[in-house]
Structure formats: structure tokens, C-alpha cells
Symmetry: C2
Subunit: 209 residues, 2 copies
DNA sequence: GGACGTTGTTGGCATGGTGCCAATAGTTTC
DNA sequence: GAAACTATTGGCACCATGCCAACAACGTCC
């Protein structure tokens, strides 16, 4: 407005503009930016314009690195759900069953507590989404988690029935975390005890059949 | 094409066009149409154009009856989640606790089986899952379900801790239904037994504290 | 060290979806 | 039958997305 002569070209801030990055770096940068935004606001609310602006790149570049907005979103979800699951897991101490359960539950609660934001982001409300591809990612993560639990407890992770049962239990685990962190209707201790007791009960029941 | 003279006006099919309906009827008609479409495909995939076409009305009418597309969607979710919950519930027979659990679980499985489509639909769709308003509706439904379960079992539905615990259990119930209906990794009988046993265990534990 | 080729990057165009609003026309009322 | 009421329409303006051709940064070769 004040500068009358010059056309309304962009402020042209950074002199370091149009810097050429290695594809991997650029991809990573976009992914992190998008992740940060999707964590806070729902999918439809975050425009590709905003992502590009935040990342300091042209909007068209998003479509160069990812098929489309949806593709970018899927990658974000995949990361925030799958990666944490593949991370460090406490060395399985060969202790008695009740202690193992305590360890497993603590591991789960800790990992959730650390990354509460991205956890709930990817989970949606129930961990269910109508979108087939998102669903597939979530299911993969659930199954992975179920395997972890079974391994940690010294049970057979290849037993289909056992794994299905633990995936069911996983639904309760998620809901419990929600009550604890978001609704704050349960203390961490209460959440822990509940999950611990039920897991113990479920595993003993599964084994019995 | 064949009729050359007249301008390219619409085919003007129905002679019954532009029929004036009572607002309640029209609203209902839109809601049902939208519900039918949202059941099958994710939110972003269903355009207001399509909803209007399917409902046989002008697109602008949607914004007259609902604030916007999102508002329409919220109403659809609210209905498909809340209404079934308020419906018939088996008369609570004053029997022993284990029998009551069987009744409660059967009621749940039945109601889900009947409306599997809308049930999974309502559980969240794509990016909307993170949406606060959708979340609120889902939480309300969860709490309502928890009350129902407690009542059915002759327990105090006003006990906050008990209700929170049952809401946690509800997460497992949903996951179990998913394994049963969608993944088919569990038979209905297995799902029933699992939910029955765990509910029995959980309630006895809650009571004990 | 300068021309050249590769390719990461940009800007703009076309398309489609959505919200809004003034004009239109059923329906009722007197 | 006219007039008031309001359900309903159609089109305009805006925004977001995907696509594509031009551009320029970086490495390479002579």
C-alpha cells in the first residue's frame, strides 16, 4: 500500500532463496513441517499453501515429492504411528509373568506419554478411520504392538488367535490412555493398574483355551 | 441437440419438480441421502454436488438447512451414533451377575451387527477424526453406552470412576467388534466370550476398589 | 575457468468444490 | 383470485488442489 511504484511482488525476504537441497533433505523437511501442522489441526484445515509457506518452498514442490496432499498425509501418519513402534523396547527380563506385565504396560504408557501429540493425531478418536489406506497403516501398527506385547510376555507372537485377542486388548489400552491423558478421568496409576490387571487376566484366559 | 431452437436449458425432466416440502421432511430427506453416501465413502470424497443431485435438490438448499457441509456431516454422525444408543434395550432381568453380562454383551453385538455400515462410518473418517466436534459426539456416545452397561448390570451409573473404567472397556469392545466383523479373525462366539469374561472381570475389579 | 547438462524448484493456469445471496415460484391465507 | 410468505433455485465469487512448462542452482567436462 505505502510503496506505490513497485508491483505487488513478494517481500522477497531470504537472500538464500531457491536453495537446492538433496531430495532426501527436502523430503524430510516437508515431512516434518507437515507433521507439525497436522498434529495440531485436522486434515481439511491444513492447506497445502500453508504447509508450503511454513516450509519456505513453493506449493508446487509438494506435488513433486508426494503424489498429492493425501499422499503427504499418509506418509505423516505412517511415520508417527509405525516408527515409534519399531523403537527401543526394554530388554525383556526373564522374570515372572506379573512383572512382565508391569514392564509391558509401563513401556506402553511411557511411549505414549512422550509423544502424546502425534499419538492422538494419528489415532483419530478410535484408531478407526473410514479411509482404507489410513486404516491399513493403523492396523499394521496395532498388529505390531500386539506382537511386541506377546513377545515381551514370552508368548507365541505367531499365534493368530492370541494376536487377535491382544489387538482387542489394544483397543482398551488406547481408550484408557485417552481417559488418562485427555479426559483426565483416571490417574496414571489407575490407568496402569487397570491395564495391568486386564492384560494379566486376558493372557491367562487366552492361554487356558 | 435435436431440438435446435430452444436454448440449452436443462432437460426439465420431472414434472413434479420444485415441490415444496415441509422443512422437517426436507431436512430428513437430506439427512438420509447424506447418510447413505457418507456410509460408503470418506468425507472428502463425497461432494455437496453429489448429495444434492442424489437428493434431487439444488445444492444451495443444503446450506439453507445446514450451516455448511461440515455441519451436515456432524448431524449425520450424531444420528448414526447417538440414536441407536437411545433405542430399545432389553428389559433388565433381575438375574445373577454373569447372566446380566451375557445379556449386555449380546445386546451390544446385536446392535452392532444390524448396523455395521453406519457403525463403522461414525467411528471417524479420514482427517475428521481429529475434529474436536466429532470427537465430542463420539465421547458422548461412549459415555452413554457406559451408563447403559452399568445400569444393565445393576451398578451405579453415576460413579465417575466406574464409568471411566467402562469407557475403557468400551474401547476393547469396539476393537473386538472390528476383529469379528471386518477382519474376521474372531468368530462371534469368540468375540462374545472374550467380551463377556473381561467385562465380568472388570466389573468385579472395579467393585472391589 | 567457462560452457553445458542435469534436475531441483518455481510460478501460473485450469479445474472443481464450497459458501453466499438475490431472484423465483410453490403454498397458504383472507 | 390476489397477496403475503417462504421454500427453493441458479449463478457468482472465492479458495484449494493438481498439473505443467519455464527457470536456475549445482555438478561436470573440456
Amino acid at each position: 500500500m505505502s510503496t506505490g511504484a513497485t508491483t505487488g511482488a513478494a517481500p522477497a525476504v531470504d537472500p538464500a532463496q531457491r536453495r537446492r537441497l538433496h531430495p532426501d533433505e527436502r523430503r524430510e523437511l516437508i515431512l516434518e513441517t507437515a507433521s507439525r501442522l497436522f498434529e495440531v489441526r485436522p486434515y481439511a484445515d491444513v492447506s497445502t499453501v500453508e504447509i508450503a509457506r511454513e516450509a519456505g518452498i513453493a506449493r508446487g514442490l509438494l506435488n513433486h515429492y508426494f503424489k498429492d496432499k493425501r499422499g503427504l498425509y499418509l506418509e505423516v501418519v505412517r511415520r508417527s504411528v509405525l516408527l515409534p513402534m519399531l523403537e527401543a523396547l526394554p530388554a525383556r527380563a526373564a522374570t515372572a509373568s506379573p512383572d512382565r506385565v508391569d514392564i509391558a504396560v509401563d513401556w506402553f504408557l511411557d511411549s505414549v506419554e512422550q509423544r502424546a501429540a502425534s499419538y492422538f493425531n494419528a489415532l483419530g478418536s478410535e484408531g478407526m478411520s473410514r479411509d482404507p489406506e489410513v486404516t491399513a497403516i493403523l492396523e499394521e501398527a496395532d498388529d505390531l504392538a500386539a506382537r511386541r506385547v506377546l513377545e515381551l510376555m514370552g508368548l507365541d507372537a505367531e499365534d493368530d488367535l492370541a494376536r487377535a485377542t491382544i489387538r482387542c486388548y489394544g483397543g482398551m489400552a488406547k481408550a484408557t490412555v485417552r481417559e488418562w491423558i485427555r479426559q483426565q478421568t483416571l490417574t496414571r496409576e489407575q490407568a496402569h493398574d487397570l491395564l495391568r490387571d486386564v492384560l494379566l487376566f486376558v493372557t491367562s484366559t487366552v492361554l487356558a483355551r
